[in-house]
Symmetry: C2
Subunit: 315 residues, 2 copies
């Protein structure tokens, strides 16, 4: 399906409408009769967040000629809720006390309810996606990848096996797979074929890698207040991109370093952050190259802009 | 679809084949490349368990004339994995160290990996069910109910609001909803209509209530060795059926009692266990009554037998 080329003003309205529908869908599906689940879900959802995954899905859909954003609000909400569920569980394992500028669910309601709230958000994803068939296959794989990535990360920290290759593997699974699913689902909902959807999926995947590298850079350099979450935790868990760029020197070696020590050491050497930024920029370039086959449109331009924002953001 | 009436020997073989296919499906979908997820999943799965939910699904399918058990193995595996996921998370929140006669995932791999293993099992459910559409709606609702029930329970303990009504509400959500889904899905996969599927669903629902009440009785009376999980934990969490039967005296009152104290006190009064057993027996009667419209068959008989086993079991 290739719709009429929309004006920038129309795109802006469609995107706003789509994101508003996503918010409604998320609040609606988390409106549990069980008070603590409702309250904790709404606490984390109303704290905002960049909503980059729903944006990616909506813009992909619009760039491929889709024109009924209400139709894609449910899958877009499901993807954002899956991310949110992982965030809530992450804060349990990392003892994170700040998230999006607010106390984490864990900090307010305690571990038991944070665990159950994360589970509840996963089941909400499942409810939202139940009516779909093939799209569920795409999202279910991303869900598994997400949990595998988080586990690989925890294992690498525990076993002290954090190399550049492991880092890239982790962020591919825990972040980029969900970005890919967002783009693939947005594409497939316009009715395009597998090949075109996969091309957009690669755009999303590379964007996801760049996003996570940028996130890890920000985690190292940002102070707690501006980032809005407990800074240093990710560093402490050894996620730092400094490790990614230097450990093993890209040769897939068995060189194993203590992640926290490595980050500190590399930070002092001075250029690792710059190298990470350069890598993220390259990933964004290769993401944007995937858009070349698309007809020009405000939505295509917005996808390219989104990719730039991902690496240029300061929070 | 009404197949040929099978002989008891044929039923037995079909059930064995079906359960074996369920085991294969569970091992297959949890065969993660991430070692700890694979190991922890296989640890809990290979410990066995009664597999009552897959049995319920398979027997419902067979009792309604279905005759290709391989077709229902995936949904049956999904339902057992959903239960398993909740068990793994439950052991985190309850600090359970024994499960099915083995150390819990939590006890061996620690909290972080137990949390991620539970998440992984939830995503495995999602992967297994992705190809289905309407059945996903049924299972997704049960998934939400399960988490809501667990949360309601934790809230009732924390806020000291554990009455008979709350107890029945909790077990309806956390246990009976999944039993209902097992029966509904088994029924729908034979192609029967909504009404007939719902009738079987009510069978499953009542069976689930009886199952949970019996579980709670066993939790009070069984010693740790024979039960194979850390006994007393459920009592300590205030789940005891004694509370269910006596707190509030069934009048929906606001009478609030400390669950642990209440259980101990009521236990000494002596007849609460008997009353709980009687309630479970009544629920099984009303479950079995739902089977009356079914044509006689070994599978129908096996469903009725399953209902009796649920309340007569000693572990």
């Amino acid at each position: 399906m290739t719709g009429t080329v929309a004006s920038p003003a129309r795109l802006s309205k469609q995107l706003d409408d789509g994101l508003a529908a996503v918010e409604r869908a998320m609040l609606d599906v988390t409106n549990s009769r069980v008070e603590v689940l409702r309250a904790a879900s709404q606490h984390i959802l109303s704290a905002g967040g960049k909503r980059i995954r729903p944006r990616l899905l909506l813009l992909t859909y619009l760039a491929l000629g889709g024109d009924d954003v209400a139709r894609v609000a449910r899958p877009a909400a499901a993807i954002e809720l899956m991310h949110t569920a992982s965030v809530v569980h992450d804060d349990i394992n990392d003892h994170g006390i700040l998230r999006r500028g607010r106390p984490s669910v864990n900090a307010i309601w305690g571990r038991t309810f944070a665990l159950l709230t994360g589970d509840f958000l996963f089941t909400a994803v499942y409810e939202l996606m139940a009516p779909y068939q093939q799209l569920n296959v795409d999202l279910a794989r991303a869900a598994t990848a997400l949990v595998e990535g988080e586990t690989l990360q925890a294992s690498a920290v525990k076993n002290n096996t954090f190399t550049r290759e492991v880092y890239m593997d982790i962020i591919a699974l825990k972040t980029a797979a969900l970005f890919r699913a967002a783009a693939v689902i947005g594409a497939k909902m316009t009715g395009v074929g597998e090949n075109e959807a996969n091309e957009l999926g690669e755009f999303g995947f590379n964007l996801g890698l760049a996003f996570q590298i940028t996130d890890d850079i920000l985690d190292i350099v940002a102070d707690e207040e501006s980032l809005g979450k407990t800074s240093g935790i990710d560093v402490h868990q050894g996620r730092g991109v400094a490790v990614a760029l230097h450990a093993g020197n890209g040769n897939g070696s068995t060189q194993v370093i203590d992640p926290v020590e490595a980050i500190k050491r590399k930070m002092m050497e001075g250029d690792s952050i710059e190298k990470a930024r350069a890598q993220a920029a390259l990933l964004v370039d290769s993401a944007v190259a995937r858009l070349s086959a698309l007809p020009d449109s405000p939505a295509k331009q917005a996808l390219a802009d989104l990719a730039l924002v991902v690496i240029q953001r300061e929070t």
